[in-house]
Structure formats: C-alpha cells, structure tokens
Symmetry: C2
Subunit: 208 residues, 2 copies
C-alpha cells in the first residue's frame, strides 16, 4: 500500500494524499572518520536504509579526500537517496584542524553534488532540537534517540548517529515545509480532486 501524507484542515477534516517515500542521506564529515546514514521517510514512518562510518587510512591528503569521495559515491549509488544533508560546523579553535575539516567537508559535499544531489545544511543546535528536543543534548542522548526513532537493534556509533540525526532533522523540516506548502495550495488542489471525481463519475455513468 502506498504511503500517505496527512493534511489536517482547520475544521478537523483529514485528507490523506499519496506521498512517495523519500530517502535522505546524512553526512558527518571528518578527515579520519566520516559518518553516513540514509533514512527513508514513508508517510510518518522513518526507517534506516544504511549507516556506517568511512574510516580513512593515513596517507597523502589527496588519497584521504579520494577515499571520502569514492566511498560516499558508492553509498549514494547503492542506496539512491533523493537529497543530502550535512551538519553546519562551528570553526575549531585550532586553525589547522579547521582547514582539515573544511577539506573533508568539501570532499563529502562534492561526492553528493557529483551524484546530482542538493545538499542542505543544518546547525548542530537545530539537529539536536529536532532529534532530542533539547539543543544542548550530549552525544549519548543523540545516539539513544536516533536508535529509538529508527527502531534500531542497538545505538549507532557517535559519527553514524550524528549523520542519521542530520537526516532525521531534514525529514522533520521537509515534512513541515510540505505541510505548509499543502496548506497554501489546498484550495486549487481540492478543486482539482473534486473535478477529477466529477469527471470519473460522468465517465462511469456513461459506461453503465
């Protein structure tokens, strides 16, 4: 049965409209470890399609960035997400670490862009609010809530949990945007459904 999104009218009427599942790739970039997670949004349900951590071996910078680029491209080809998300980073106190993180982040975003994905960015505060309900939640709280929201057997590692949390945050934001858009365009859509019904009724009456 295809999933349906619920549109609730001010008078309490609920309209269920078909809504195809959407897959969201979350990335937590790092030059040593890059976490990733693909979440499928099917109506109001969330499911984890794939998650893991790309462990980048020591080597020259171009080799390390190449590992991130190729590994994420493989994840994208395997799981076919529709959109990518990445956490906005606060600059590190150590400028050299900031530069390294920037390069890893550039490689991760390029992997998504090269596969034709739009990349959305969310601040850590917003991600934690979306997943835990508290912007200053610690790593363990994020891991526990990600496990719960995605019905996972065990808590994901910290890097994987951050990536999945980013994808979940986008799922919530996207649902909200869709609902707001639906509300704004509800009148023409309802008219269109009514016209469609009338056309089918006329056609069926003609066949009788």
């Amino acid at each position: 049965m295809p999933s349906r999104a619920a549109i609730v009218f001010a008078n309490g009427t609920i309209l269920l409209v078909p809504s195809p599942p959407i897959r969201i790739l979350g990335i937590d970039p790092g030059l040593n470890r890059t976490g990733y997670g693909v979440v499928e949004v099917n109506g109001l349900r969330l499911a984890c399609i794939a998650t893991g951590v790309i462990r980048v071996p020591a080597g020259d910078l171009h080799q390390r960035l190449g590992t991130i680029l190729r590994s994420l491209a493989a994840v994208i080809r395997d799981t076919q997400p529709h959109v990518a998300t990445v956490e906005k980073v606060f600059v590190n106190i150590n400028p050299q670490s900031t530069l390294l993180l920037g390069q890893a982040r550039g490689a991760a975003i390029c992997a998504a862009v090269a596969e034709g994905l739009v990349v959305h960015e969310y601040a850590a505060l917003r991600i934690k609010q979306a997943v835990v309900g508290f912007g200053r939640a610690d790593k363990r709280q994020v891991q526990a809530m990600v496990q719960r929201l995605l019905s996972l057997d065990r808590a994901p590692t910290s890097d994987a949990a951050d990536a999945l949390a980013c994808a979940i945050c986008h799922a919530h934001s996207a649902s909200l945007s869709r609902a707001l858009r639906s509300k704004a365009s509800i009148a023409p859509r309802v008219r269109s459904i009514a016209n469609g019904r009338r056309a089918w009724t006329a056609r069926l009456q003609g066949l009788e």
Copy 2:
C-alpha cells in the same frame, strides 16, 4: 622530433635520453575565484597549454563547490594533464575564511582525484623560490616571471599566475627528481645501452 632529457655525467659526458612531454595542472583554489593553469614540460622547454580563472557565482555552498568541481573536471578532460599540483595554504587569521578555503580546496583536489590524478602540494615559499628565486617575492614579481618563463603575450592575472607558478615549481622538482633517479641508476642503464648497441651491431653485421 621527440624531446630529450639531458643526463650530465661527472666526467662531463652528456647523455640525451627520450623524454615524453609531461603536462602539469596547477590549481590556486578559492571559493570566489579558483585559478588554474596547465603547463607542458618538453625537455627543458615549458609551455602554457591553458590558463584561466573559474569565477564562482554566489549561491549555496554545494552549488559553489559543484561549480569548482565541474569546471576543473572540464579543464582536466580538455587538456589531459598527467599530474596536479596545489599550493599548501597557511591558515587564515579568520577561522570562518579558513573553513571556506578548506572546502574550496577539498573540491579542487577532489576534481583532480576523480579524474585519476595524483596531487602534489608545495608551500608558497618553495613556489616563489622556484619561479622568482626569492621566497618573499610579491604577486607582481610572480606574474612577471610566469609570463617570462612561459613566453606569454601578457602577464596572467594573479590567481592564474599562482596556479601556473605551482605547476612550474613541480616541473622543476620533477626534473630534479628524475635527474637524481637517473644518476642513481646510471650504471645499469649505461650497460643496457651498451648491450643494445652491441646487439644491433651484431645484427647489422649479420645482415651484410
């Protein structure tokens, strides 16, 4: 006539060995402007194959990194360099600028890696020493020397000159490495040339 590299022995003998032309891509990454230049090394001659600046329009980060990635990939496919080079950066005083530069650098390196190129990094000091002969040379001196070394009609813009200077620096380093490798392995190579000559002489004598 194929180009030849000169190997000078301690006794003053000069051996010219065939050396195919090598193309080097130099990149000067930046999120607003990314300079590039492809230099062909043909024996002792240097020639500019292509140079320019990728001007990145304002937009979301993933769009800007996508522009750098795609534009550099097009340059690489058009000019077919064998290797890429990029300037090592000193971290900026402003951490946010360092992060942005890191991301642009990550995208530029990924463009080269995705096209199968190895990427060498050189410090600005070393590049200036290789091109101008003075590590603290200013931008105008670099532009003027790049114009002179590559016999260009006019001085390239600063971003393009920095990219070309990086490629020239690698050309010098690569020549030096080749010469050192040649010197280390000169005895077996000379024996091989002598054996080859003897084999050809015997064969030609047999044909007479």
